[in-house]
């Protein structure tokens, strides 16, 4: 290793030769090029439009054990909020559970037997709102709507001597149970998060093929017989895809702003600068994989092997804090985890460089390790 670095130093003309060649090949390979631009767009549309982050008219079951005027007002209020469609009436707790389990309803509202009695005594009775939170984004807004109802609707009925029960706090407690998923993802997480997911997927996959393709087509033998240096090949193959990565980032940012009205309150140039590190991180993973894989198929499999934990453990699919510690530890090692924090932090919270710095160095460390493995694994011979 020391020897070949000593003998052959990095030269710009050879590096540039690789860059030019990769650009030409990228342009000729219509399918791959289309995939690089098309896949993010399709995903964006699917994720962005198909996921309505503020859904209304969700099917709701009501179990009114207490048949009082207050109950009726509440039910009327729920119906009117437009978040709930009272499609079912239940007569027992068991029935409610079945409906939730069988996916018949998204919500179930239980008004307990002594609801009005306790309300009148000022004892703050419980109103149970159960939600099927397998799809958590559907739940958040509706839950908030119930709290609203609590104060506005019931206060209408608290008249005369009951006025004293009116309070700034609702006269009863809403106990809300979210079944199946304890934490909700906020709607705007999706589009910025998608940027990280897209970059991870396309960058690793495409560069994963970069060196294995040369080996499979036999062009590697030729390349190795020239004085080209491993670092020139590896970095030369990375550069064109940095460009592609930026095209993807720009597309997603434009779509986030103009198609999905994601509030972008942060510093976009800062984000664009930091994206570079994340793109490079993924490219080095891909290149390293392609120095290890024996053929293109293996490289693809390795790309997916890396992509899946990234998708699942980074906090994109499931809330990071909701994962067990071991999973969080794995997540901390993945660049996507840190990038999601950076991109959400900058775009949604308006974070600056100081706030995102703790998530920068882990990515930088990751790049250094991957690059070292990649250059070490890159064979200068065919043995």
């Amino acid at each position: 290793m020391v020897q070949f670095i000593g003998n052959m130093s990095f030269t710009f003309h050879r590096f540039f030769a690789i860059v030019m060649k990769e650009f030409i090949q990228m342009r000729r390979d219509r399918l791959t090029f289309g995939m690089m631009i098309g896949v993010p767009m399709i995903q964006l549309i699917l994720f962005g439009y198909a996921i309505n982050s503020n859904p209304k008219h969700l099917p709701t079951a009501v179990f009114a054990a207490d048949n009082s005027p207050f109950s009726r007002t509440l039910i009327w209020g729920l119906q009117n909020s437009s978040y709930f469609d009272l499609t079912r009436e239940a007569h027992s707790v068991a029935e409610i559970n079945t409906m939730l389990a069988e996916n018949k309803v998204q919500f179930a509202v239980t008004i307990p037997v002594d609801f009005s009695r306790k309300l009148l005594r000022g004892e703050k009775p419980n109103l149970l709102l159960e939600a099927d939170a397998t799809d958590p984004s559907a739940v958040g807004f509706a839950t908030a709507a119930v709290s609203q109802l609590a104060t506005t609707v019931i206060n209408r009925d608290l008249i005369g001597p009951l006025t004293k029960l009116r309070a700034s706090a609702p006269p009863f407690n809403i106990v809300s149970h979210q079944h199946y998923n304890p934490e909700s993802i906020s709607q705007y997480n999706i589009v910025p998060g998608l940027m990280g997911v897209m970059l991870t997927m396309t960058m690793i996959m495409i560069t994963g093929l970069a060196i294995t393709r040369e080996r499979e087509r036999g062009t590697m033998e030729n390349l190795l017989s020239t004085p080209v240096h491993p670092a020139e090949v590896i970095i030369g193959k990375i550069v064109p895809y940095i460009f592609v990565g930026y095209v993807q980032v720009t597309l997603i940012l434009l779509a986030a702003k103009f198609l999905f009205n994601v509030p972008i309150i942060g510093n976009v140039p800062l984000l664009l600068a930091l994206v570079l590190l994340f793109i490079v991180a993924n490219l080095t993973v891909g290149i390293t994989f392609s120095t290890i894989a024996k053929n293109q198929l293996q490289a693809m499999q390795m790309a997916f092997f890396f992509f899946l934990p990234s998708l699942l453990l980074s906090g994109y699919m499931f809330p990071f804090r909701g994962m067990p510690v071991w999973a969080q530890n794995i997540g901390e090692c993945l660049p996507l985890t840190h990038f999601l924090r950076i991109v959400r932090g900058i775009l949604l919270k308006g974070n600056g460089i100081n706030e995102v710095a703790p998530d920068l160095w882990p990515i930088a460390l990751f790049v250094a390790i991957m690059l070292a493995i990649g250059i070490k694994r890159y064979r200068q011979t065919l043995d």
């Binding site: 003998n7 060649k21 090949q25 000729r28 011979t381």
Partner: protein, 307 residues
């Protein structure tokens, strides 16, 4: 150059796992020489060439290539060597011109545009420069590969079966060009399976099963082979061939259109065995052994010794 040879290596050995593919080979090639490298399939020719230009790490051996230590200075050697692979290994999705430009850039040619232009002209591909390399016919691919190997003006050319599948006229042109280049001082080490090409080399080496069996000029190799060959022409050659094939001293019986070549290393035994048949209507003549017969004979011997 510290050595009088362009290639001067000894004891070159390569193992793949436990199999020795190149076994203790020595080779000396003079500057400006066209050196033929022959041997049956899988005998280790490609492996040897790859070791010379640093594509494979030898398991043993020492020596110089262009005056540089071939095991330690391969980065420097690569700059001075043009290696044409057995399988076409330029980019099929790049045009002729783009491939040449790429190679010229990799070698840091000071006058890249001119070098590419010159190369295109010599190839006769100026009009087709924009054509994708993948769309070329086999013969044209070989010519492109040769041109690309020459673009950085190497001192040594390693050509691995450059004319496999090329038509006779194109092959002749190819060889004319090789001779021109050699006359200009370029050293060429070339592998081939064609006997006519072997005889166009200044000197040659023959390997089988990784072992060097013979080397020298064509005449020297033929002499070294020590074969006696009889050419028989006339009628009923097929019947005759059947009768003599199993006789003592007869090693090869090769049928040509109108003649039969019978050869063996032990001249006395061969002549004794053949004498009873020389009475017929056929014409018998002792000729000089062909290179092919010599190689086959060498290989048979090697099979007994090594395999």
């Amino acid at each position: 150059m510290s050595s009088a040879f362009a290639i001067d290596v000894r004891g070159v050995t390569k193992k793949f796992g436990t199999r020795t593919v190149v076994n203790n080979i020595a080779m000396q090639v003079r500057p400006g020489e066209i050196y033929g490298f022959l041997g049956p399939n899988g005998s280790g020719k490609t492996t040897f060439l790859r070791m010379l230009c640093g594509l494979l790490t030898p398991d043993g051996g020492e020596g110089k290539c262009l005056g540089l230590d071939f095991r330690r200075e391969s980065p420097e050697i690569k700059k001075r060597v043009g290696y044409m692979t057995q399988k076409f290994s330029f980019y099929e999705d790049l045009s002729i011109e783009e491939n040449l430009e790429f190679i010229a850039r990799l070698y840091g040619m000071p006058n890249r545009k001119a070098a590419v232009q010159k190369s295109l002209e010599r190839l006769g591909m100026v009009e087709r420069r924009k054509q994708l390399a993948g769309a070329l016919s086999g013969g044209w691919k070989q010519r492109l590969a040769l041109a690309a190997c020459l673009i950085h003006e190497p001192q040594l050319l390693l050509l691995d079966e450059p004319t496999a599948g090329v038509d006779p006229k194109a092959r002749r042109e190819f060889w004319d060009e090789i001779h021109q280049l050699a006359a200009g001082g370029l050293t060429v080490l070339i592998t081939t399976h064609y006997m006519d090409e072997a005889s166009r080399c200044h000197r040659l080496a023959y390997i089988a099963y990784g072992n060097l069996l013979a080397h020298g000029t064509v005449a020297e190799v033929v002499k070294f082979g020590g074969l006696t060959t009889w050419e028989i022409s006339g009628d009923n050659l097929a019947a005759l061939a059947d009768k003599i094939r199993k006789l003592p001293g007869v090693e090869q019986v090769v049928a040509f259109g109108t003649a039969l070549h019978v050869s063996g290393r032990d001249e006395k035994k061969l002549s004794a065995s053949l004498a009873p048949f020389m009475t017929g209507s056929q014409r018998w003549e002792k000729i000089e052994a062909g290179l092919e017969d010599v190689f086959i004979s060498l290989m048979e011997t090697a099979k007994d010794n090594y395999a």
